[in-house]
């Protein structure tokens, strides 16, 4: 992956965190914010190196916490752990398959908020939770499950557009040409 893809990845994270705080109408409709940061970290973990995954997890977590009432740092660890685990196991995941991307997104979307709530429970914070939290987690999982294959396709497209195309050279060399015929005529 080239530099442009990495820039787009961080840009997408920045925009997605901001988008989480906007679009109240859509939020009322689906009952949860459109949070796709777990899907973005999943994509980074499956296609980029550990450095990019780590940076994206830390920055994404800090950005989410800066706009939220959560103590700063709460979202960093869950996003990083998701990226770290996926990065270590990526040779086992069929990352080019749409269904695998969906299930990875689904797990990440439900798992990251759950882990964040776990970290929050270790602090003095009192998040508003209840039976509806399970439904919220499932909805967040579904949103990320749908977003994950879409992100793979979008970044693949950007990669194709902005990356250097491989130089297509012919393997034909006239001095190595095999001339077939009845008679061998040296040149």
């Amino acid at each position: 992956m080239n530099r442009f893809t990495r820039i787009f990845l961080f840009l997408a994270m920045w925009l997605s965190v901001f988008a989480q705080t906007q679009f109240q109408g859509l939020r009322d409709l689906v009952q949860v914010p459109i949070a796709i940061s777990p899907a973005l970290v999943s994509y980074a973990a499956l296609t980029h190196g550990l450095g990019v995954t780590l940076s994206l997890g830390i920055l994404g977590g800090l950005w989410v916490d800066s706009l939220s009432a959560s103590p700063v740092g709460v979202s960093v660890l869950p996003l990083f752990l998701l990226g770290f685990t996926l990065h270590l196991q990526r040779h086992l995941i069929l990352r080019d398959q749409g269904f695998a991307q969906f299930w990875v997104g689904l797990g990440a979307g439900a798992g990251v908020p759950l882990l964040t709530l776990g970290v929050l429970s270790l602090t003095r914070s009192q998040p508003v939770t209840g039976g509806f939290t399970v439904i919220h987690l499932l909805l967040l999982g579904l949103i990320n499950g749908v977003a994950c294959p879409f992100l793979f396709r979008m970044f693949d497209f950007l990669h194709r557009v902005f990356d250097y195309r491989p130089l297509t050279t012919s393997s034909f060399r006239p001095d190595r040409e095999t001339v077939r015929g009845r008679q061998f005529r040296p040149r």
């Binding site: 920045w14 925009l15 965190v17 901001f18 989480q20 705080t21 906007q22 109240q24 939020r27 009322d28 949860v32 914010p33 949070a35 550990l50 780590l54 997890g57 830390i58 800090l62 950005w63 989410v64 916490d65 800066s66 706009l67 939220s68 009432a69 959560s70 103590p71 700063v72 740092g73 709460v74 960093v76 660890l77 990083f80 770290f84 270590l88 908020p113 964040t116 709530l117 970290v119 929050l120 602090t123 914070s125 009192q126 998040p127 508003v128 939770t129 209840g130 509806f132 939290t133 919220h136 967040l140």
Partner: protein, 268 residues
């Protein structure tokens, strides 16, 4: 198989998280403001696009509608002037009586109009962001309300933006009183029913058989954050808990917290 770099990454992020979570509260607020400042261009773009849409809307509106609106607002303004005169007279009388009784005077509220620019990005907090901050003399604990009723209080004031903890959030417990019966209660943190954003639960301090649906809930002024008499909501239904020791009531908030675009901040 974990390599050395993996161990280093795990240890680094773990230490960073621990360090951030153990920062003093004032420093946490500053760190949040500093990181949140990266979104200022996006907030600016959003404000500009809102203004542009508003202006485009005005261009589309027919002149007759604008004149109708102007006449309606002029009438409303005249009515409000009379009401304000009555209010000023009542306030002066109230201050005279309070001075006679030796009670602390209650000054008029200073209002600042703020625009709602964002919501909390998580589902377990009920907060929103407004476009006024410490440079507009806003401080934590300033009361926020809409024309309909109480909205919440400022929980964090950054330089240009502030975070408002809404009624029902963990950061915004409200001491309330039922207008008709004068029974005291609390809207406890975390007792918001998120399935319906407009409903919160109020626990009354004792068993109150006179409480019934339709009664009005106001701030009681106890607790020191919210001034007395601000409308909070209307009781929807009640139930007795803990062997009829406490009465719990569901209250529909007067202000629609999901549809807020502009709010008023009460400053002393």
């Amino acid at each position: 198989m974990l390599k050395r770099t993996h161990y280093l990454a795990l240890a680094g992020v773990g230490l960073l998280t621990l360090a951030l979570l153990n920062l003093p509260e004032s420093l946490q607020t500053r760190v949040k403001s500093a990181i949140g400042a990266s979104f200022l261009p996006l907030f600016g773009i959003r404000a500009a696009s809102d203004a542009l849409l508003d202006r485009a809307g005005y261009q589309v509106l027919p002149r007759s509608t604008l004149i109708d609106n102007l006449l309606r607002l002029e009438r409303e303004n005249a009515e409000l002037r009379v009401t304000a005169l009555q209010g000023a007279d009542a306030l002066a009388e109230n201050q005279r009586l309070r001075a006679t009784l030796g009670a602390a005077p209650r000054g008029p509220w200073h209002l600042k109009l703020a625009r709602v620019v964002g919501r909390d990005p998580t589902t377990w907090w009920r907060t929103l962001q407004i476009n006024l901050g410490s440079r507009d003399n806003l401080k934590p604990d300033h009361v926020v309300m809409s024309g309909a009723g109480l909205v919440g209080r400022i929980s964090q004031a950054g330089l240009t933006h502030s975070q408002v903890a809404l009624v029902g959030d963990a950061e915004c417990g409200v001491a309330v009183v039922v207008k008709e019966t004068r029974d005291l209660g609390i809207i406890k943190p975390g007792q918001t029913l998120l399935g319906d954003g407009g409903l919160v639960e109020m626990t009354l301090l004792q068993n109150c058989p006179g409480i019934m649906a339709g009664q009005v809930v106001l701030t009681s002024g106890l607790g020191g954050v919210f001034p007395a008499g601000l409308p909070v909501g209307t009781i929807v239904d009640t139930r007795n808990e803990d062997g009829n020791v406490f009465t719990t009531a569901r209250v529909r908030l007067s202000a629609n917290l999901n549809r807020l675009e502009e709010v008023w901040v009460l400053t002393p």
